[in-house]
Point group: C2
Chain length 280, copies 2
C-alpha cells in the first residue's frame, strides 16, 4: 500500500505534552512541515484563544480537531448544566480556531455510580443539548469511542457501532453536524471495525487518530506507542477509512509518560513523520 500523503499528517498536542506549550507546538509543526495540529484546551487557554488562532493562521496550519468537549455524565443536574456550559465554550473556541471538529470524550460513570446505562443516557442528552449551538457555529461534533478499559472513568461510548447509533438517533439526516473520531488505539480490536467504518461513511468520519498498542502495555492511560512499535495494522485501517471516503488528516496522539514525553519534541516529530510515511 502506498504511503499516505505527507500533507495530511497532524500532531495532537498530547504527543508533546509537558515539553511544549501550544505556541511551541505551532512553531514545531511549521518547522517540520507538518500541516495539521490538534490542540488540547488547557494549552489553548494558557496561550489565549485569540493568540493561538492568530499564530495558527499565520503558519497556515489546519486545526484537525479541538480536544476536547464531552464529559457529560455527572451526579446531579447542576454539575451536568456546568458541563453543558463548558461544552458551549469549547464550541466557540473551536470556531475561533476554524477547527474541523470538536472531539467529544463523553465521560464515564458519574462519581459513585454503577449505572452505565444511565450514564449513556446522560451522554445522549448532553450531545443533544449542545448540537444546536455546534450547528450554528459550523463546528461538527466528533464522538470519540474510547477503548472499553476507559468505560468507567473516561467514556462510556466504547465502540464505533455505539457512537454511530448515537449519531443516527440525534442526526438522522446525516447533516454533517455529528459524526465520529476514529482513533486506532481505541478501536483496533473491534471485530466490527471494518463494517462500522463503512457504515459511518464520508459524512460521519470526522477525524482519524493514530498511534500504536504496545505489548505489553504497562499503564492503562499513559503507555501508548509510536506507530510501528505495536500490533495495530495501521495500513489496513487506513485502507478501510479511505474506502469509506475519508480524505482528512491523520492525527498522531501519543500519551507516553515514560518514553515519548521524555524525549526532545523535535525528535518526536521527526519520528512521527518517518513512521507516518512508512507504517501507516
Amino acid at each position: 500500500m502506498a504511503a499516505p500523503p505527507a500533507g495530511l499528517l497532524s500532531i495532537n498536542t498530547a504527543t508533546t505534552r509537558g515539553r511544549w506549550g501550544l505556541a511551541e507546538a505551532i512553531e514545531g509543526c511549521a518547522r517540520h512541515g507538518i500541516r495539521g495540529i490538534s490542540p488540547w484546551r488547557d494549552l489553548l487557554h494558557a496561550m489565549g484563544v485569540a493568540n493561538a488562532a492568530r499564530a495558527i493562521r499565520a503558519r497556515g496550519l489546519t486545526v484537525t480537531g479541538l480536544c476536547r468537549g464531552g464529559m457529560f455524565s455527572a451526579r446531579n443536574a447542576r454539575a451536568r448544566k456546568a458541563n453543558i456550559a463548558d461544552n458551549l465554550r469549547a464550541i466557540d473556541e473551536a470556531h475561533a480556531l476554524e477547527a474541523q471538529c470538536l472531539v467529544l470524550v463523553v465521560g464515564g460513570l458519574a462519581e459513585g455510580s454503577k449505572d452505565i446505562a444511565g450514564a449513556r443516557a446522560q451522554v445522549r442528552d448532553g450531545i443533544a443539548a449542545i448540537l444546536p449551538h455546534a450547528k450554528a457555529a459550523g463546528i461538527p461534533l466528533a464522538i470519540e469511542p474510547l477503548h472499553p478499559m476507559y468505560a468507567a472513568d473516561r467514556a462510556c461510548v466504547n465502540t464505533l457501532a455505539q457512537a454511530l447509533d448515537l449519531c443516527d438517533a440525534l442526526d438522522r439526516g446525516r447533516t454533517g453536524a455529528l459524526g465520529v473520531a476514529v482513533d486506532a488505539y481505541h478501536v483496533w480490536w473491534d471485530p466490527q471495525l471494518e463494517a462500522q467504518i463503512r457504515r459511518a461513511g464520508k459524512r460521519r468520519l470526522l477525524a482519524y487518530h493514530i498511534c500504536d498498542w504496545l505489548v505489553p502495555t504497562t499503564d492503562l492511560l499513559l503507555d501508548r506507542g509510536m506507530m510501528g512499535d505495536g500490533v495495530i495494522d495501521l495500513k489496513r485501517i487506513r485502507g478501510w477509512m479511505m474506502r469509506a471516503g475519508y480524505r482528512g488528516f491523520h492525527e498522531v496522539e501519543i500519551f507516553s509518560a515514560k518514553n515519548w514525553w521524555q524525549r526532545d519534541p523535535d525528535e518526536v516529530l521527526a519520528i512521527c513523520k518517518a513512521r507516518y510515511r512508512r507504517v501507516t
Copy 2:
C-alpha cells in the same frame, strides 16, 4: 434483588494464587462450606489429576470449570498442532474431574503478527478441531470473551456477540457442546451485554465469573477487585443471566497481586462469601 443461593458460590483457584495449592484450595472450600471450585491446570498438574479428582469427589465439590484450554493462535502449523494436542489433554483432565466445562481463553495475536482477523480464523479452526473430542468426552467447551485490552496477548475473542457468532458457526444445532463463559470483568462495559446474554440462552451459558472493576485500575492483568469494591452492577448482570435461564454456579476469579493475593486465603474466602451474598 434477593441474595443468590449460598450453594452456588464457586472459587476459582486464581483467587488464592501463590498461597494455596489445589489440595489446600479443595480443603479451604470445604471448610468454608463453598460447594464449587474451578482449578487452573498448573495447580492441577502439581497435585496430580487422579489425586485431585479423588479429593474433590471426597469433599463433594462441583468443578464449575477447568481453566484453561485455548491459546489456538500461533506462528506456524507445528505450534498450532502442539496447542491442539494440549487442548485434547485438557479435555481429558476436565473429564477426569467431571468438570462442568473447559474454559477456553482463545489466544491473541501470534508472535510478531498484526493480523487479528487471521488469529480469529485460527481460533475458529482450533475450536473446530477439538470439538469432536470434547463431545465424545461429554465436556462442554466454554469460549470466554476477554476484555478488549487483552486482544493482543491473551484472547482475540473480545465480545459476547463474537463468541456467540463462533458458537453459531461451529455448533449450529445448539447441542450444548459449545457455549460461553460470561465473566463480568470482561464484558460489563458492553452496550450489547443484556441482548447477547439473552441471545446465548440457557444452552450456551456455561459459566458465570464474578469480581469487580476498580477505579483506578493500576495494572491491566493483576488488579481486579473484590465484588463490591468496584463499579460493576453485579446484581443487574446476574438478573440478566437468570432471566436467560442460567442456573449454574457463580465463580469468583480475582487476579490481585497487590491486595487479595497478599492476604490469608481463609480471610479472602470469608470475604468472598459475604460479598457474594450482599452485592452480587
